[in-house]
């Protein structure tokens, strides 16, 4: 009897197999199309070379420029893409789908860069360094989101917390110095985290609305003070900035050194915070409890975890991370506050969190992809490519969408995300 039914309808496993095989074949087709695009769309004038500068004259260790002959390189790139595509299409190896697509996209980006740079040059190291810098506020915003959404509190207020951090950093930094400014920004960010927690945990307010209210409140207050007070008392808005400091030896490594080991406090801070929160959330008892509160608060409650307290603590921690990220805008970058200077980076951080599957490392990776696309478009705008600047400005967003749709697929939020918990 059981044998017959299993023959008549495919088991869930088989269904899954055929779906992933189909996806593998579609990806194969996509890769072949990319190969054709590289071959015919990215024509390089024969003999032209693309020059990528790796070191500046000031660097301790000098390396020559990376000179790539445009035509042959893109020929090889197209061939590799075609090979990956055909292999994927014929064998449909589901296991390799993501890897092939990842490699394929990397090859495409390289071919595109070589095409755009043919006959010209730009500083590759500078671009990578900028990638890291531009990723910082987004990664910290994303990490703030991870901390609060892992305990099932949707945090739309990251944008407001970043802005509050930036404002506090500038104000307190101007009065009492950079370090105090930074700690004040962390405290204020944490304060808004606690406010959000109070609104949604204790008063069970709608989480989205509570977040939006905080964003509007912070935008209004900071804009008001900026236009009414800062314009009058200029010394309140003239904060010192944390300069980049080179880590000895490591900072001298060509290409990687400037990117990872010659940055300011905020860049190192972001990397360390991502590492700590990954360890905390996934390798400690308290981290497990926090995740349990996010997945099934009732069960966690039954086992003696204080759901309310856990939510308060993590949303506040998230706010502190966002406050630190906000301080980057003023103390880590431009030394002064200006209206709405975060300009939506908090929302992009939120997106980075979703793309990163609610994992700190994932959020950082998404932020880096965004930063990479962002700094690439800045270089491309200088190379006089025939692509309109409006399209270049879209590049960071398009890149993120492609990577997410292609590589990550469906990401699953914590099961209880967004729902208030009522203790019985």
């Amino acid at each position: 009897m059981t044998d017959m039914t299993s023959q008549a309808t495919p088991s869930p496993d088989e269904k899954l197999d055929s779906a992933s095989a189909r996806r593998a074949r579609i990806m194969g087709g996509v890769l072949i199309a990319l190969a054709l695009l590289v071959l015919f769309g990215l024509n390089v004038t024969p003999g032209e070379v693309a020059t990528f500068r790796l070191t500046t004259p000031r660097d301790a260790i000098q390396v020559g420029n990376l000179v790539v002959p445009g035509g042959p390189f893109n020929m090889i790139a197209a061939a590799l893409l075609a090979f990956l595509g055909v292999r994927q299409f014929l064998r449909g190896g589901a296991k390799w789908t993501n890897l092939s697509l990842g490699i394929g996209l990397a090859i495409l980006v390289m071919a595109f860069l070589v095409w755009a740079t043919a006959g010209k040059s730009f500083s590759l190291t500078g671009m990578l360094q900028a990638t890291m810098v531009r990723a910082v506020p987004i990664a910290l915003g994303g990490l703030a989101g991870v901390l609060s959404e892992r305990v099932a509190v949707v945090n739309i207020a990251i944008e407001g917390m970043l802005l509050a951090g930036a404002f506090t950093g500038a104000l307190i930094g101007s009065l009492l110095g950079g370090w105090v400014g930074m700690f004040a920004a962390i405290l204020v960010g944490g304060g808004f985290g606690m406010l959000l927690a109070a609104l949604v945990v204790t008063y069970r307010m709608d989480q989205i609305i509570a977040g939006v209210v905080i964003n509007l409140f912070v935008l209004g207050v900071t804009s008001y003070v900026s236009s009414q007070v800062f314009s009058e008392y200029r010394h309140l808005n003239n904060a010192p900035t944390f300069r980049a400091f080179k880590i000895p030896l490591l900072g001298d490594i060509p290409v990687i050194g400037p990117m990872l080991f010659n940055q300011n406090l905020f860049v190192y801070g972001a990397l360390i915070l991502v590492a700590i929160s990954t360890y905390y959330l996934f390798h400690t008892k308290n981290g497990l409890r926090a995740r349990a509160v996010g997945e099934h608060p009732r069960a966690a409650d039954t086992l003696g975890v204080d759901v309310y307290r856990t939510r308060y603590i993590h949303v506040t921690l998230g706010g502190m991370v966002a406050g630190f990220g906000g301080a980057w805008f003023t103390l880590g970058s431009v030394g002064r506050f200006d209206e709405n200077m975060t300009n939506g980076r908090g929302y992009i951080g939120l997106a980075a969190m979703i793309f990163g599957r609610w994992h700190p490392v994932g959020a950082l990776s998404a932020a880096l992809i965004f930063g990479f696309a962002d700094s690439i478009q800045q270089k491309l705008a200088l190379l006089n490519t025939p692509i309109p600047s409006e399209f270049l400005a879209m590049a960071p967003y398009i890149a993120t969408i492609i990577v997410v749709a292609g590589l990550i697929g469906r990401s699953k939020p914590p099961a209880a995300n967004g729902t208030p918990y009522t203790k019985e």
């Binding site: 671009m127 506020p137 705008a381 006089n384």
Partner: protein
């Protein structure tokens, strides 16, 4: 309508008396809607607002402003001012062109003036204020070309719209003119007038964009950068401050930025002035003296609506010869012997 007319006709005398007393009692009110970037942006909006402030000091009038936080605020801000008894409403910014047009057509009795926009055909109750900023920027380009050590200068804009790109055009052609005269080969990064493409931040808010974009230009060799993006350029000034002005100098735009950004005054080689304050004051005067009519006023080098700011900290390091040449170029532009643009 007719019903209302009857009422007014019947109570005409009383109304006229009342209106008379009210008019003498209440001062003239000038209202302003800013673009995004804020009233304290040390440049664009702030300069236009200074025009109203100057008028407030000169004659006893009232001034009010509403800030636009986003482009979606334009219409709402305009509507709330229309209900607020303004004698003239000044909108600041090219992007407000459509909103201002709609408001002016719906309220033909209300006087409007818009900075950075020219309507064709003209609207009878809107006076446009535009500026030949390319003339001022041409001088800045010439100066930058003469001062660059690396032979590369750069510029970037906020959004690819005419009031922004006029600066970049002038800058580009000023450098080309220098190259022509001196047989040099100074390169301009960030703007290509032929394709109308270049480097744009896409906003007038993110100061850290200003830092990142200036750093990008510096990595590619530029040692003088002209940001045309409102407050975003303040981020570039911070970078120049950290790097030292031997590595990077900034050219300000709109206002004399050594005045509006005094903490970083030492990084500004000069500023390309766009005297919105003077045209806004002029427009308010016209509205007060009933000489207001729709059309256009254009600020040029000749009427000092545009120009170069003093050289500030670089007064001594700019060779006298170069200063004299710039004066000659300025005279050439005014008498038409030098064409800005190609």
């Amino acid at each position: 309508m007719t019903f209302l007319n009857k009422i007014t006709a019947r109570t005409g005398l009383a109304a006229a008396l009342l209106a008379g007393t009210v008019m003498t009692a209440s001062a003239f009110t000038a209202c302003q809607v800013t673009d995004t970037g804020g009233i304290d942006d040390a440049g664009f909006n702030q300069t236009a607002w200074k025009g109203v402030q100057d008028a407030m000091e000169a004659s006893d009038i009232e001034g009010r402003f509403l800030e636009s936080q986003a482009e979606t605020d334009y219409e709402a801000n305009l509507n709330s001012l229309i209900e607020g008894n303004c004698d003239i409403i000044v909108t600041v910014g090219f992007l407000m062109g459509d909103a201002t047009k709609a408001a002016a057509e719906a309220n033909p009795e209300q006087k409007f003036s818009i900075v950075d926009f020219a309507y064709d055909p003209t609207i009878p109750n809107v006076l446009g204020q535009v500026y030949a900023t390319d003339q001022g920027a041409f001088l800045a380009g010439y100066l930058a070309a003469g001062m660059s050590q690396t032979g590369v200068v750069g510029t970037f804009g906020g959004i690819n719209i005419p009031p922004v790109t006029a600066f970049m055009d002038g800058f580009y052609y000023g450098v080309q003119y220098y190259n022509e005269q001196k047989g040099t080969d100074v390169m301009v990064l960030g703007w290509n007038p032929e394709s109308s493409e270049g480097l744009f931040t896409g906003n007038f808010d993110s100061l850290d964009d200003g830092r990142a974009f200036a750093e990008n230009l510096h990595q590619e060799g530029a040692d003088i950068v002209m940001p045309v993006a409102g407050p975003v350029g303040l981020g570039s000034a911070q970078l120049a401050d950290e790097m030292g002005t031997d590595s990077l100098k900034i050219i300000g735009v709109d206002a004399d930025q050594t005045q509006t950004d005094p903490e970083k005054a030492h990084v500004y080689l000069t500023s390309v002035l766009k005297r919105m304050d003077s045209t806004v004051t002029q427009v308010i005067d016209m509205a007060m003296n009933d000489t207001f009519e729709g059309g256009l006023i254009v600020g040029t080098l000749e009427n000092e609506g545009v120009g170069l700011a003093p050289y500030g900290a670089f007064e001594d390091s700019i060779p006298e010869e170069l200063k004299a040449e710039i004066e000659a170029v300025k005279a050439g532009i005014i008498d038409g012997s030098i064409q800005v643009g190609m």
